[in-house]
């Protein structure tokens, strides 16, 4: 099976809806179980950090949210390429549906980061490269959603939004490597780095469980939103046909 036939196979909305209905209950159960377990492990079981004390527990929400903020953008950029090149409406719908979820994750990362920054660094906000590039990500999400709303024609809207998404993807490596390329107040990566995680297993495991839970949550909400959008478009075209007297 070539990439092309795989994409066309998924693109059949009826088949996609059937597949997503099969995945949804499992993903939802997984999300609840993992986030529940992650919160218990993170807030109760995990030890306090040797220098940050209990404040380190903000990490269990902050870091997965920041990862998901970037992962969601990767999904949008990937779906935008499929939409632009293979003209797949379902990919365009997926990109559009993912945006508000990504924006929410970005906002959570920024707010929890601010709450963490005050006690540890001594400031709610600084304009260093990591924080600023993350704020730009939030603005990209907002601009992307606004662009979809502005253009009525779905074909033109999808194209414009996809181009914006791809231009904005330049920001992703900047966010990731900002802490290595420049002096920043934000510390470098603790988990995704060349010489292995710099976090003790007792703190790392709750973090990874939370990250898996956030990912499952993302899948659930994304599938729900895609489903709603597919159905909304169907209702729209049925109404159009009714209005034109093609069906009654």
């Amino acid at each position: 099976m070539t990439l092309s036939t795989f994409i066309h196979g998924l693109a059949n909305p009826t088949r996609f809806l059937r597949l997503s209905d099969a995945i949804l209950p499992w993903a939802a159960g997984l999300a609840i179980a993992l986030i529940g377990a992650g919160l218990y492990l993170g807030l109760v079981v995990a030890p306090a950090d040797y220098q940050q004390g209990d404040t380190v527990r903000i990490m269990f929400v902050h870091v997965p949210a920041a990862w998901m903020a970037m992962f969601t953008y990767v999904v949008i950029a990937g779906a935008s390429v499929v939409g632009l090149v293979w003209k797949q409406p379902l990919a365009e719908i997926a990109a559009k549906s993912a945006a508000p979820i990504g924006a929410a994750f970005t906002l959570i990362a920024l707010v929890t980061g601010s709450l963490w920054g005050k006690p540890m660094w001594g400031t709610w906000w600084v304009w260093d490269a990591r924080l600023t590039s993350m704020l730009i990500l939030l603005f990209l999400y907002i601009g992307y959603m606004a662009l979809w709303q502005t253009i009525d024609d779905p074909v033109r809207g999808a194209k414009a939004a996809a181009i914006l998404a791809l231009v904005g993807s330049v920001n992703l490596p900047i966010i990731k490597f900002s802490v290595d390329w420049w002096n920043t107040l934000h510390q470098p990566a603790s988990v995704v780095r060349m010489d292995g995680p710099a976090i003790h297993a007792s703190i790392l495991i709750p973090l990874l469980v939370m990250a898996a839970g956030f990912t499952a949550y993302f899948v659930v909400v994304l599938l729900w939103r895609i489903k709603a959008e597919v159905l909304a478009r169907r209702i729209h075209s049925v109404r159009l046909m009714q209005a034109q007297g093609i069906i009654s």
Binding site: W182, T184, A189
Partner: protein, 154 residues
């Protein structure tokens, strides 16, 4: 060439060009994107007294002294090859201590002392329970705040 393939190549080329352009811009802005200067960079740059900037580094071991009025603190910020004396009046963040990374904001005074109006603590990327930190210190595997916070690791 099929239109699909043409569009794919176009997208790949466009994103590559955009990435290259962004890289060039960021490289050109490099000096302005740093959040703070280290003492070594300051020695090369020669910043005018009174001009505000941020100075970052480690609080030098044994350099912290409280002035008798209880408000002013004096310490030296070092990157282990150069050091700058700093004067600061106000509250220090909880993580502030000797050997800890800090970013101070202010300007050089005429006497060569950096007058800070703001001190931020910078912590590293290592997280562990206190018992593990103790065990590492006992077994001699602890690289110390100095090594772990050294500018090379930032």
């Amino acid at each position: 060439m099929k239109p699909k393939r043409r569009r794919l190549i176009f997208v790949i080329v466009a994103v590559t060009v955009l990435g290259a352009a962004a890289t060039l811009v960021l490289t050109a802005f490099d000096e302005n994107l740093v959040f703070f200067l280290t003492p070594s960079e300051l020695a090369i740059r020669d910043v005018d007294p009174g001009r505000r900037f941020r100075l970052g580094g480690l609080v030098e071991e044994g350099s912290v002294e409280k002035v008798d009025d209880g408000i002013e603190t004096r310490f030296r910020v070092t990157d282990l090859s150069a050091a700058v004396p700093v004067r600061y009046r106000g509250l220090l963040p909880d993580l502030f201590r000797e050997g800890q990374g800090v970013v101070t904001e202010g300007a050089m005074g005429l006497d060569g002392v950096f007058v800070a109006s703001n001190v931020l603590a910078k912590h590293d990327e290592n997280y562990m329970p206190a018992e593990v930190a103790e065990a590492l210190k006992k077994s001699g595997k602890w690289q110390g705040d100095k090594g772990r916070n050294a500018p090379d690791n930032w």
